[in-house]
């Protein structure tokens, strides 16, 4: 599986809701996410900013969390979504 990143915020309710779905996906499939908190870790924030050109067009023109990113394929999806949608996006990256 490619290297996938989940950018999230500690006080973001959408991220909090998505976290158990990410954990479930990792239990049930070979998918793995590199979790990067962006409001309390400037290195992670800079990493997310470095992908602005990939993320913004898919996320309302902004950097929003949660964002799920495949840097290699320059593909991203953001926001709260059902488990099956996250799974479908992650598996198609492989």
């Amino acid at each position: 599986m490619p290297n996938l990143i989940m950018f999230h915020g500690r006080e973001c309710p959408h991220c909090k809701r998505m976290m158990p779905l990410v954990e479930r996906l990792e239990r049930e499939t070979p998918v793995r996410f590199d979790r990067r908190e962006v409001w309390h870790d400037e290195e992670n924030a800079d990493l997310m900013r470095s992908y602005l050109e990939i993320i913004a067009p898919k996320c309302g023109g902004q950097l929003r969390v949660p964002t799920f990113l495949n840097p290699g394929a320059r593909d991203a999806v953001c926001g709260e979504m059902p488990y099956e949608d996250l799974k479908a996006w992650a598996l198609k990256q492989g």
Binding site: F7, G9, R10, E11, C12, P13, H14, C15, K16, V38, W39, H40, A45, M48, R49, L52, G60, Q62, L63, R64, V65
Partner: protein, 143 residues
């Protein structure tokens, strides 16, 4: 268009904008604003009372703000509590009440669009959406 500073010649209210208010919202005098420098504005603002706004005060402020609008503060108290804690963490660490569900780009003009409450009414998550919300879910359309 560049925003400038204006002072009410009656009550010394300070306004920052492209044009002065026609009616002073404090003393209700018409055509009362005169343009001043940023330095002069800072002196007037600095001489005012220190107004603290704790998270609970901010909750009241956004509830009053929403009261006259087509949206309201999310009735999900737990969600709002988490968001308020993030908003205040961001103000403490990064200088402004940035939305905890987005990230600043370090471009000041763009980042000021992330200060809560932001102008979410133009966002795709709210505009034209029957159960629209701002991105973080702090404000939801009244149904």
């Amino acid at each position: 268009m560049k925003k400038r500073y204006w002072r009410c010649f009656v009550c010394n209210d300070i306004h920052f904008g492209i044009a002065p208010p026609e009616l002073c919202p404090t003393c209700k005098v018409l055509q009362a604003y005169v343009e001043i420098s940023a330095e002069e504005a800072r002196k007037f603002l600095g001489s005012g009372q220190d107004v603290a706004l704790a998270p609970e005060d901010f909750r009241g402020a956004i509830e009053r703000f929403a009261a006259g609008n087509e949206f309201r503060v999310n009735p999900d108290r737990e969600k709002v509590d988490l968001l308020l804690s993030g908003i205040f963490e961001n103000e403490k660490s990064h200088g402004f009440k940035f939305c905890p569900c987005r990230l600043r780009t370090k471009n000041r003009e763009e980042d000021l669009k992330l200060v809560c409450p932001c102008n979410f009414t133009v966002h795709e998550t709210y505009r034209g959406v029957p159960n629209g919300e701002c991105w973080c879910g702090l404000f939801v359309r009244r149904t």
